[in-house]
């Protein structure tokens, strides 16, 4: 419940129709895409401008009501779950593409612009915005910046961070700062842009985003390679890099995923394959043709027993069908789907897949794994049911083992989903107390009152229940 004073201030700033307090609205904004998490917001604000965002921040700061910035609520880390009766600040009405600057190859957008809308606007001018998180058709740029989202094209093109050139951010006292700009080279002061990217809404509210665009690739080709063993597939992926091919996408599906896909929507994958690599290259037609030939040769040498290549879009779409069906196929196996994003250096891919299988077996679970082999970024995925606490506890233990294994392999607890609430207890596993203290110092400097997205990222370390191998 808002106080009368805060309600009046917010209505004055936003207009009555942009402040939602009905029980229905509060129920709808209580959740995001993270399974098992729900909060209880005190209100939902829908500002339409930077000025309105700043006014909301000032009013909430004065009333000591926390703020959770939110785009479309598609994150998988509980990053937009309203804790401590926070107000949800939703950027859906700040959804204009302000400029596509073809000469400088940049786009200036508001945070509520949907990723796919920016991609389409860029494509209309022969330009390309590569970051493609799985939820790109509805995720917002503001959310992508907050989570430093990845996707399938990161090996070659990088992640959201690599495209953000400048930001406009409302700070905890309501002041508006601008970072970066259109300059390719600009070392004037601290790189605050990079500080805010991936800060998960804990340091400020991003109100404008300047991103870099690249020329749209002229051609594309796709190879699907089936392997009898995970080691062979991992070796194939490594051999591609060794052959100096950097594919636009290098995706991996394990046997459990393949079986789920074929049971749901047969796409003609051999179910005796232990692993499938889906490799896409884009660029100049000549280069694509060369690379496809190399990809085929390398995969064959690595032991691929089935190779399919497509260069026209319709045939390529056929090859991608299995990968696209992975989420729907797995989502149908249970009421909730626990999907994680443990990540390791790509040379440890096979080790990580084996560790996932061992962790699943130890709990008597079937965990399906797919993901971005080129980035060592895997999505071990397990269907669950919140009505079965014993099952959920086993899943929890399996994922605990998986995170511990990732860290032992030199990897990390999250590659692209973010820490949020879901991984906060694991963060001290990944980072030293000194590193965490440095992060807390930054948080305290910019947001001393813990106004923005409280409860996220920083939490007490989760005790390691399973074994004592981890400190």
């Amino acid at each position: 419940m808002l106080s009368d004073t805060l309600r009046r201030h917010l209505r004055d700033a936003l207009g009555a129709d942009a402040l939602l307090e009905s029980p229905e609205a509060l129920a709808a904004y209580a959740v995001d895409a993270t399974p098992l998490f729900a909060g209880a917001p005190s209100a939902v604000a829908l500002p339409a401008s930077t000025e309105q965002v700043a006014a909301v921040v000032r009013a909430c700061a004065e009333a000591r009501v926390a703020i959770v910035p939110r785009g479309s609520g598609t994150n998988l880390s509980g990053g937009t779950i309203p804790e401590r009766g926070a107000l949800v600040l939703c950027t859906a009405r700040m959804n204009r593409i302000r400029e596509i600057d073809a000469a400088n190859m940049t786009a200036d957008v508001e945070p509520g612009v949907v990723t796919a809308a920016l991609q389409a606007a860029a494509a209309a001018q022969g330009l390309y915005y590569p970051p493609d998180p799985g939820s790109q058709r509805i995720s917002t740029l503001g959310g992508n910046v907050a989570e430093n989202s990845g996707g399938m094209r990161c090996l070659k093109y990088g992640v959201t961070r690599d495209y953000v050139m400048g930001l406009e951010v409302v700070l905890a006292d309501g002041t508006v700062v601008r970072t970066g700009g259109k300059n390719v080279k600009d070392v004037a002061g601290y790189d605050l842009t990079r500080l805010f990217v991936g800060s998960e809404g804990t340091l400020g509210v991003v109100t404008r985003i300047l991103v870099r665009l690249v020329p749209a690739p002229q051609a594309r080709g796709t190879v699907l390679a089936c392997f009898a063993g995970i080691e062979q597939a991992a070796a194939g992926a490594a051999a591609l890099i060794a052959a100096r091919v950097v594919p636009a996408a290098l995706e991996f599906l394990d046997r459990a995923t393949i079986e789920a896909v074929e049971a749901y929507q047969p796409s003609g994958l051999p179910t005796d394959a232990a692993a499938v690599l889906l490799i896409e290259q884009d660029g100049h037609p000549g280069q694509v043709a060369d690379d496809l030939a190399t990809i085929e040769r390398v995969c064959r040498e690595a032991g691929a027993f089935d190779l399919r290549t497509a260069t026209d879009p319709a045939a390529a779409e056929q090859l991608w069908a299995a990968r696209r069906a992975a989420l729907p196929a797995l989502a149908r196996l249970g009421p909730v789907l626990i999907m994680e994003d443990a990540t390791v250096p790509r040379s440890r891919l096979a080790d990580m897949v084996r560790a996932i299988d061992a962790a699943a077996r130890a709990q008597g679970l079937r965990v399906a794994t797919f993901g971005h082999a080129g980035d060592g970024n895997l999505h071990p995925t397990c269907p669950g049911d919140a009505r079965d606490p014993a099952l959920m506890a086993r899943i929890d233990r399996a994922f605990e083992d998986i995170f511990a294994a990732a860290i032992e392999l030199g990897g990390t607890i999250t590659g692209e989903h973010g820490v949020g609430l879901a991984k906060a207890g694991y963060l001290p596993w990944r980072l030293s107390p000194e590193t965490l203290a440095a992060m807390r110092a930054i948080k305290h400097a910019l947001d001393p009152g813990d106004l923005f997205n409280p409860g996220k990222i920083f939490a007490a370390p989760r005790p390691r229940a399973g074994s004592a191998t981890h400190a």
Partner: protein
């Protein structure tokens, strides 16, 4: 504890939502509002909260539930296969029983549902009356006098003129060897406003080799009742249709209205949900299994070859309940592709609702217009001169959209069966 009625919501189905948000870009009301409450994921959260007992059945809750078009585009977009409409209809049934369904709570709505739609004679007279009022420009007069809202006057003015003398015959003989005996489902609004489309459908089916009978005793399919939460009303109408179909001895029951078709195919589920006796459930399931959309039946009976000739640019507005409920995306497109000379210009978001949505354009005219305006932008961008539809509601809504956007000189709205019949007539003088 949930309120008594909400405890009956299908909880297992509610739990299948993984909250990924992939339904949001498919939802027309989310597109026009940007509100989570007006999105499928948000509505599922609300319905789950109701089932969990944390949201009561209030007028505001009802408003959120009836703000949904029930176009089911979210079902096509959903990776987890959430049966959204099934959950929504269970929720609306509770609201209907509490007197919170706008269509069944008002005297006018109750009259329309109970006395008008099920009575073809009365409905025809009402359509003639409305057309006469239109000729006399009464809606415009009413608007000036302040007794008719501007938007209602605008909608009324775009209604089609009264149909001419009834061409639809009781039966049509198959051309060539008989491939099937088809009962033609005539419905309510379709029959009263567009009877010539039924004649066109029957002639096409006969040309395809079907013996077509317009079976007596049939009535409204009950879809509008079901969407308004009046499940009992829908079951009553369904029983009349089942009895009429069984008496005909036909193999197939063919309709030309996407909304009716989805309902007819859903009778089996409806009777199971309503807890009807097993014998009735079987009879309902049998009708569902025999039901076909006209485009589906034509493709089945007349699978190849040209279907006439027409030199025109057309664009297809999918019927939501044809494409998202019956999953018939390619059937109408395949038929259009068989018309020589026809240039089909696919519009952006063809499978997105036009805002008609049963009686939504009457219960929520302003919201409906918002959805329609977005749609007309996509229609106009194709440069087509004919917008093809496969459902009477869409046809009426497209006429409104064309008038509302001043496109009368450029384009018209035509039912796909009328278009095919026209193409056939051009080719076979």
């Amino acid at each position: 504890m949930p309120e008594a009625g909400f405890s009956a919501l299908p909880y297992d189905e509610l739990l299948t939502c993984i909250r990924c948000g992939f339904c949001l870009p498919a939802c027309p009301t989310y597109a026009s509002t940007g509100l989570e409450t007006a999105s499928p994921r948000g509505r599922l959260a609300l319905m789950k909260a109701a089932a969990d007992g944390s949201l009561p059945a209030t007028p505001r809750f009802a408003h959120e539930m009836f703000f949904c078009l029930e176009c089911r585009a979210c079902e096509s977009a959903c990776p987890a296969g959430v049966p959204f409409a099934h959950i929504m209809e269970a929720t609306r049934e509770v609201l209907h029983e509490r007197g919170l369904s706008p269509a069944t709570a008002s005297p006018v709505g109750r009259f329309a549902m109970r006395r008008l739609l099920p009575d073809q004679g009365r409905l025809r007279r009402a359509v003639r009356l409305a057309a006469a009022a239109n000729r006399l420009r009464l809606p415009q007069l009413g608007r000036r006098l302040g007794i008719v809202s501007p938007i209602l006057a605008e909608q009324a003015a775009a209604l089609p003129p009264a149909p001419g003398p009834r061409r639809l015959r009781p039966s049509y003989a198959a051309e060539g060897p008989r491939k099937a005996r088809v009962a033609l489902f005539t419905g309510c609004v379709m029959d009263a406003m567009f009877p010539d489309t039924h004649d066109a459908t029957a002639r096409l089916l006969a040309r395809a080799g079907a013996e077509v009978t317009v079976i007596p005793g049939q009535t409204c399919c009950g879809a509008l009742h079901d969407h308004a939460g009046d499940r009992a009303g829908a079951v009553g109408l369904a029983k009349a249709n089942i009895t009429a179909f069984e008496a005909s001895g036909a193999d197939l029951l063919v309709n030309n209205a996407g909304g009716c078709g989805a309902m007819l195919k859903g009778y089996g589920q409806l009777f199971a949900d309503a807890g009807e006796p097993a014998a009735w459930q079987e009879r309902a399931a049998a009708l569902s299994a025999a039901s076909r959309d006209a485009s589906e039946a034509l493709a089945e009976l007349w699978p190849e070859g040209e279907i006439g000739e027409l030199d025109a640019d057309v664009t297809l507005q999918d019927s939501c309940h044809l494409v998202h409920a019956q999953k018939l995306r390619s059937a109408p497109r395949a038929l259009l592709a068989r018309v020589r000379g026809l240039r089909v210009r696919e519009m952006a978001g063809a499978d997105s609702c036009c805002g008609s949505a049963g009686i939504y354009s009457l219960t929520n005219p302003v919201d409906s217009a918002q959805v329609l305006d977005r749609k007309m932008g996509a229609v106009a961008a194709t440069g087509a001169t004919i917008v093809v539809t496969a459902n009477p509601g869409c046809l009426i809504q497209m006429r409104w959209g064309i008038a509302r956007h001043g496109l009368q000189q450029r384009m018209r709205a035509v039912h796909i069966m009328d278009l095919l019949a026209l193409a056939l007539a051009r080719a076979r003088p």
